[in-house]
Symmetry: C2
Subunit: 295 residues, 2 copies
DNA sequence: GGCGGTCATACCGCGAGGGTATCGCCCGTG
DNA sequence: CACGGGCGATACCCTCGCGGTATGACCGCC
């Protein structure tokens, strides 16, 4: 009995996700651009089809059941997979192909120009479009908006992505030039204990919505409203009113090149190879410089 | 222009996948249980909606374009994500919850009884259903048919799964007792060069469709039709007419417990902890035995 | 106790999806 | 070279299900 057609349409998933996120049929319906009654019906039908109660409604409030919570999580992932499929297909069909690389402004440790040059020198290289985003570069790769991204592990989540490690960096605290700790040769995290947040970029300081751009963060630091702990490579591009001081016990950060773990593109493979090659060359060079005492 | 409603229904994806796999509208339609004309229309509509040519048809044959190939790959993944969502939701809604563990017969290195006992002793432990499968345990975890599985790395693909390493094992060649190499204390892969396939379980020997069950494989070995290289733990349960001889240069195999990488279940976490604890205890014990010369 | 808010039900209209019949095209074949 | 068979596309029709409007049932709150 209850044959249970194992297939659910993406429309139904999107409807459920909307309701589960809003916990309110009317708002969800408005967000979806439909009326409320069809939405109620669709959810009931979905529950009947799955043979599972997804929402607990008591005429005043809507709450998720255990099953509803898993469908919210899993349904989100499934919808993401569908739109990733669509986006990647569209891109694969473009007559004039290119690679899209997501990078964070100032977050490339100055490797990007060399990587681009090395790849461009590859036979059959495609044009590379750089798209800048501070916060959702990983998501862009996962959902097909970008072919690859420069990410910082372990700060950013790498699940579901294939990665090539480019560079391991220690971290520095960014401080106003006049700060009491600015003159120190080295700090520990404990030294920063009393300092205003965000200690880590991406965290949310009091009264600010979100640090979406590194210039904003640096501005906050200059104002004494925040202290940032960031990879040492940004010292090269620091504003003149700021200084970077090594933090000895901050966990090292790894700059990685990430791409969808089952990508099959010839061009992407060549790009990854080129990036790895540049990283190898550069880190060997800086290693040599360090050994010869120039750093 | 080309507003491009970014959503595609799972039905459309399933239709395209069927055509892409069959490369034949008639067969695909039969497989889907619909007539051929609506299928043709659906594919055309999908192509129009994506703004991309997916199939190259020349009145005699159907071939995939570049975009079609990526939609085949990505669409498959997306459909799998959808049915995984459905299955996991159904399971989460069951009134009497349980854990489903996928194992391979003989592939648990005899850890399973202890793991089950350790987990059962956990407060709030759920009943554990063991489901045996030789070939698709990884897929069962990925698509929600199982909560966790015992897998052998690197022989089996672990992408998309979270894992806990339980046991590293060296490998042995399984040979008929009368085999010319059966008396040797140790072999190398080179010694097996002339031997009949499959060297590795899961490979397809001439004239046989698939080794789905280890009993079949052992039977083939006993008949001299094949030589198997497997983790050493199976030596304990070998038929009396077979012997296991260590293969010095075969890459070691790791028995891992794998689960969906974003699972949130309290019960699963407890099970993983219990398994890791047992593995730690057992490998410490066998280490001690080895040191004291009993092996 | 009326009022507003929320979800469910009743009912209707229309469009999309599916079916049958047929065409157009190409290829093999006698 | 004519003809038949196989394949995908087109034409046409019908039905079912999705979405809309109107309304009901049930609460909490002034």
């Amino acid at each position: 009995m209850t044959a249970g057609d194992d297939t659910v349409e993406t429309r139904e998933l999107a409807y459920f996700v909307a309701v589960a996120e809003e916990l309110h049929f009317g708002r969800a319906a408005r967000r979806l651009g439909i009326a409320q009654p069809p939405l109620s019906r669709a959810i009931q039908q979905l529950e009947r089809r799955l043979g599972v109660r997804l929402l607990e409604r008591d005429h005043r409030t809507v709450a998720l059941t255990e099953a509803g919570e898993t469908l919210l999580r899993e349904g989100h992932a499934a919808l993401a997979a569908v739109s990733a499929a669509v986006r990647r297909t569209r891109r694969a069909g473009r007559s004039e192909p290119s690679l899209v690389l997501a990078a964070k402004p100032g977050g490339d440790a100055d490797l990007l120009p060399e990587i681009l040059a090395a790849y461009a020198a590859t036979p059959g290289a495609l044009p590379v479009d750089i798209v800048f985003s501070a916060l959702e570069r990983g998501a862009m790769v996962r959902d097909g908006r970008a072919d690859a991204a420069l990410l910082h592990a372990p700060r950013e989540d790498l699940t579901g992505l294939a990665v090539e490690e480019l560079l391991v960096e220690s971290q520095v605290a960014v401080l106003p030039r006049g700060h009491r700790l600015a003159g120190r040769a080295e700090l520990s995290m404990a030294d920063l204990d009393g300092e205003p947040l965000p200690r880590w970029p991406g965290a949310v300081p009091e009264g600010f919505s979100r640090i979406a751009e590194s210039g904003q963060l640096m501005h906050l630091v200059a104002l004494g409203r925040a202290v940032a702990v960031v990879p040492e490579s940004i010292r090269a591009n620091l504003r003149h009113d700021l200084v970077g001081v090594p933090v000895a016990d901050a966990p090292p950060t790894t700059l990685v090149l990430a791409w969808p773990q089952d990508a099959r593109s010839r061009a992407l493979a060549a790009f990854v190879r080129a990036a790895a090659e540049v990283a190898r060359r550069v880190s060997a060079g800086s290693e040599a410089a360090r050994r010869s005492g120039r750093l």
